[in-house]
Symmetry: C2
Subunit: 376 residues, 2 copies
């Protein structure tokens, strides 16, 4: 049976941030915890958002979000939330800040180790109500603003996926103005995250035609606008469409994701390498597309159409060249991943929630082979 759900409310446009006051009032939030990171504070975006907060709202601020959110950081932010009697969350930033915000919302009312609430441990059914979240993305990639999922590194070092409709932000405020000064490399890497979402979601065997259509539409936007946004960060049209594509990518992954994500979650759990999720997805996409090619029916035809490619174009090859044109790494080897890490990485993949919706379920041996290919 096909089950279709969609996010509640998204505002997108230059200047959309002005609706924040209304959003707080509508959701009964007067003492928000703002979850963000030091980069957002340093670049002035935090001040921009703070500037539109109504006078009667007194926020607390947690700006210690790590580049991949951890259970430790969630607990720190939770303490602030509880000490200050907060009644809702504003998450400002990339996927990390938004995922951290969801982690805080979860832990306000759900005790025990965060892994207890992961998809693998049946969290989707067990997670109850949580305080309201308003999500304000400052990158165009993760789409976490329209999803009920988050990825958190546990105290045990595992990267776990937690998903619940109760963690879906009540509102996503997508203001492309906030992305105009995003550096080239981060624009490229987050944009490729959106592409990975659109492609992987479309390819899962889960039946959800509206999500599939949205994914193809998002993919077309990424192919049309990402290079423009990288070349000229102040190309406002390109920034608008990339912001839209990012949200569309996450709306699409209501269909689930696949092995690109199980592999990038595995690598991304390494706290020493501290690798960027979107960059990992970009680099892993060609390898996984080749692995899936014989298990997706006619879907590559639709992908090619959305990407304006010739009927016989090699999609994997095209993405490798696109990555290069965007200035992204060529392979995992360039990013510091070595052959000796592969057995542990491959084992990690087998327990990742995204593994189960890949068109073809890879064995641990096949994951190891894919890592081998992606390293060199």
């Amino acid at each position: 049976m096909a089950t279709l759900t969609y996010p509640n409310l998204l505002e997108i446009d230059f200047g959309a941030i002005k609706v924040l006051g209304d959003a707080l009032e509508r959701n009964g939030i007067s003492r928000p915890l703002i979850c963000t990171d030091k980069g957002i504070v340093d670049c002035g975006i935090f001040d921009t958002v703070r500037g539109v907060l109504p006078n009667d709202v007194s926020p607390s601020v947690f700006d210690g979000t790590p580049s991949n959110p951890t259970e430790v950081a969630v607990r720190q932010a939770l303490a602030l939330y509880q000490d200050n009697g907060c009644d809702g969350i504003i998450a400002i930033g990339g996927g990390s800040s938004m995922d951290l915000g969801k982690g805080v919302a979860l832990t306000t009312r759900h005790d025990g180790p965060i892994a207890n609430w992961s998809v693998i441990n049946g969290g989707r059914e067990k997670i109850g109500k949580a305080p309201p979240i308003i999500a304000i993305p400052t990158t165009a990639g993760t789409g976490s603003e329209v999803g009920g999922g988050c990825v958190i590194i546990t105290e045990g070092g595992q990267k776990v996926v937690i998903v619940s409709p109760n963690l879906l932000p009540k509102m996503a405020i997508c203001d492309p103005e906030l992305t105009l000064d995003l550096p080239k490399l981060l624009t490229a890497a987050t944009g490729m995250d959106a592409m990975a979402h659109c492609i992987e979601a479309y390819l899962t065997p889960v039946v959800n035609p509206p999500a599939a259509a949205i994914g193809l539409d998002g993919l077309e936007r990424v192919v049309t606008y990402l290079k423009r946004a990288v070349d000229d960060g102040h190309d406002r049209d390109a920034r608008w469409h990339m912001m839209m594509a990012a949200s569309e990518g996450a709306m699409a992954f209501a269909k689930g994701l696949g092995a690109v994500h199980s592999m990038s979650h595995a690598v991304g759990a390494d706290e020493e390498l501290r690798l960027h999720h979107g960059t990992l997805n970009a680099v892993l996409l060609p390898t996984v597309l080749r692995f899936n090619a014989d298990h997706v029916g006619e879907k590559f035809v639709r992908l090619r159409r959305a990407m304006s490619l010739a009927d016989d174009a090699d999609i994997a090859e095209w993405i490798s060249e696109f990555n290069a044109a965007l200035g992204l790494p060529k392979n995992l080897g360039e990013m510091g991943v070595t052959a000796d890490m592969v057995p542990k990485l491959a084992a990690h993949c087998m327990t990742d929630a995204c593994h189960f919706t890949n068109p073809k379920q890879p064995s641990v041996h096949e994951y190891a082979e894919m890592f081998g290919e992606a390293i060199s």
Copy 2:
């Protein structure tokens, strides 16, 4: 600013009706009012649905839904709802039963003439909470199961559009099994309603890329499967895809609709003619497409692609021929609409909620001209 909202939860598949018990429990409904019509009772669908109701649920039944729902019928059903202490609504049927169910949900907590709550009178902002609705479509066309809107003929004879997120069914249960025995002509007419939704929604100037993508996907399904469903009602694939297309059409019209609908609402308000909404949309589509052709930018290119038409194909002409192949009337004249009715019809259009999102706002004179063309 672009505001995007989507329905909450939709289950689609053969046998989906089995989740009704769960749906009631999840929404706290133990004494539902079932809103339906005599046709649904006579053909046995009502018994099918009743058969899956849990034993501890005691429904009341209103089976007097007219072919275009009226305020009078809403008040009758409301009396039953109140007399029996109901706590929610199950709407089973085509658009009429579902719209009537929404009217009942509205009037349980909103007093005064129903027209007070219309879009034109600012209802969208004024309408508060309403009891939960579970929608079970038995046709594939209206898409009312995933929309927060309904169209009701007031006691004054006006066809008013009422829209609120609070009237959105908590859950849509789309079971194509219920449509297998739908007669050919009703299959054709409701299917063309879905096509009109997909096309009109896509063409409005409202910015909502996910809705646009869903509309194009729905359109492709209608073009691919409607004739098959008409030719062989038990073509299960065709019935599944038409049911999906119908929901997609209504998800798309989160973007609004246009002059096809303002015109068909005007004609449909005539209680003596009692014309079918989907048939009217089918017949009006070519005329309105010709009117809009120069005001939609490059959008016809996308429509042709979704419809698998040649680059220079005349979409309006194609739809006229498709209507003929489906056995639908050729024009409004065949349906009993005469030239003397035109001034009143044209005036009605100017106050219809859909008028304002047509790509080009027609004048009352232009509406009269379009009616003239569509009659002959």
